[in-house]
């Protein structure tokens, strides 16, 4: 088996005195897709923010293609090839849709697959609305801009934090329909998702988090509904 593209080993993170992550491990293969599921407060977003350099990492290591990116500032992590779609989309209100996409290419890495044209092919509705302010779009369209913006740097790893949050099921389906094309372009995806069904559908591997720890890991086909339910809600079975 080839070495993982992104590897997280024994990662801890803190907010002041509060420990949010306790020795998290995960691997993401080149072109692969891994989903992190878990209830609110499980540490999923902290994990993503720590990998991309927005939050300070504690102990442990984060390796990208074998090279440490642990503790690097976010702009440098992006330059190394890890882009992030933040929770809540966080589009820039002063910029149009096209400018929001263009700023994603501020630090473009080589001549990769992702350009304005390929993003517009992926999400055709954005081409029609490219002159509109980014924040004037519907929630689903804003999410498409946020994903396109992250892809514009031609990342090797795309971190997607709660991209279905607050969206209608039909819109979620449209957005997740783009995942196979993103993977075909060679970009690996690490996705945080509260929608367990969606996570099991798109991911090669699923990790369930609870109170800052990974409590369950496996391929979707290997995980029973009960095991996921128990890990997600922290249910322990009294065998006595």
């Amino acid at each position: 088996m080839s070495a993982p593209l992104l590897s997280v080993r024994g990662l801890t993170a803190f907010y002041g005195d509060f420990q949010a992550l306790f020795g998290v491990d995960l691997d993401l293969a080149r072109g692969g897709c891994v989903a992190i599921i878990g209830a609110n407060g499980a540490g999923k977003t902290t994990l993503m923010r720590t990998i991309c350099g927005i939050a300070r990492a504690g102990q442990g290591e984060i390796l990208l293609d074998g090279a440490p990116i642990h503790g690097l500032p976010a702009p440098e992590v992006l330059r190394r090839g890890v882009a992030m779609v933040p929770e809540g989309r966080k589009l820039f209100p002063s910029l149009s849709v096209e400018e929001n996409l263009q700023i994603g290419a501020h630090e473009r890495r080589g001549n990769g697959a992702w350009t304005l044209e390929t993003i517009y092919d992926l999400f055709p509705v954005l081409r029609e609305r490219r002159r509109n302010p980014g924040t004037a779009l519907s929630g689903g369209q804003q999410q498409m801009v946020a994903i396109g913006r992250a892809l514009m740097s031609n990342p090797e790893v795309l971190l997607c934090d709660e991209i279905s949050l607050g969206l209608a099921p039909v819109v979620i389906r449209d957005i997740y329909a783009a995942v196979p094309r993103i993977r075909e372009a060679g970009t690996a995806i690490l996705v945080v998702e509260q929608d367990i069904g969606q996570a099991l559908k798109i991911a090669d591997h699923v990790h369930c988090m609870m109170e800052g720890r990974v409590t369950l890991s496996g391929r979707p086909s290997e995980l029973s509904r009960e095991a996921i339910h128990d890990a997600y809600f922290g249910v322990t079975h009294d065998l006595a």
Binding site: P75, P86, P93, S94, G104, H106, S153
Partner: protein, 287 residues
């Protein structure tokens, strides 16, 4: 006829105030920093031009081209090593630091150049008048207004037509998320302050060409600049030009009625605009 002349003189004076204000507006628009030392930095720019004139013997216009990169570098250093250390959620530390800088600059200039008034002599061009219909306008005041319009047009082009301008606007919107685009906000802030001090140097050139200056006049220039920015709408560059013109016309009108009302009329116009348009004439939509 007198009123037409008053209006014209007010507009030309407004051009100078718009130049004072443009750098302040730029810095506020990008990093929400109210730079209380802005007036003193304009005065510093005037002294830098004066030194360049003394050392090289050049005309102040040419000497200003030498002062521009010096002030750009000084702005970058100031932002990198001073302002970036105090920018954050709390607005008080940057206010205190820029206030302190204002005091330091005034005293350094007093120590170095004394309290004597100085002027940037433009030579015969100062006396040239341009007849425009029923009024005759001074060439230097006309150049001041032309420079203000050109500076604000150039800043608008920079903001809305360049990659750097896009980064400026995005950083102003969200200095955390912009890091996910590979942008270091601190570096963007440093470049912005460098550009703001270049604009302040142009303001200094016309300040020194039109009037005497000494180390203590900075705070009054800051007040006019601040009023122009507020009248125009915080962060709006064309609004800043409009704000400068409002103050200039108000001052000229006040002076035409009674000379001692000049300054009072400018401040009264500021208060009047705030009463009816608290967010200024052209507020940014997303502020």
């Amino acid at each position: 006829m007198i009123w037409l002349d008053t209006l014209a003189q007010g507009i030309l004076l407004g051009g100078l105030y718009a130049l004072f204000a443009a750098g302040l507006s730029l810095v506020f628009g990008i990093m929400r920093l109210v730079n209380l030392a802005h007036g003193d930095l304009i005065v510093l720019g005037a002294y830098v031009i004066l030194v360049m004139v003394s050392v090289t013997g050049l005309n102040p216009f040419l000497a200003a081209t030498l002062a521009l990169p010096v002030m750009f570098g000084f702005g970058m250093l100031l932002q990198t090593h001073l302002f970036n250390r105090v920018l954050g959620e709390d607005i008080l530390p940057p206010l205190l630091v820029t206030f302190g800088l204002s005091v330091v600059l005034q005293n350094v200039l007093l120590e170095t150049f004394s309290a004597d008034s100085q002027k940037l002599s433009m030579g015969p061009v100062e006396a040239v008048g341009v007849p425009l219909g029923p009024v005759t306008l001074g060439l230097v005041p006309l150049a001041t207004l032309g420079c203000a319009v050109a500076v604000i047009a150039a800043l608008n082009l920079l903001f809305y037509r360049t990659k750097l301008g896009r980064a400026f606007r995005a950083t102003s919107d969200d200095a955390t998320t912009v890091q996910l685009m590979g942008i270091y906000p601190a570096r963007i802030f440093s470049v912005a302050t460098g550009i703001a001090l270049m604009v302040a140097t142009l303001a200094a050139l016309y300040l020194g060409a039109r009037a005497n200056f000494d180390p203590t006049i900075g705070p009054a220039r800051l007040l006019y600049a601040f009023e122009a920015v507020i009248i125009g709408g915080l962060g709006s560059l064309w609004g800043t030009l409009a704000g400068g013109l409002v103050i200039g016309v108000a001052q000229a009108t006040g002076a035409a009625i009674r000379p001692e009302w000049q300054i009072l009329a400018g401040h009264a116009a500021f208060v009047a605009v705030l009463l009816f348009r608290p967010r200024g004439l052209f507020p940014r939509a997303n502020d």
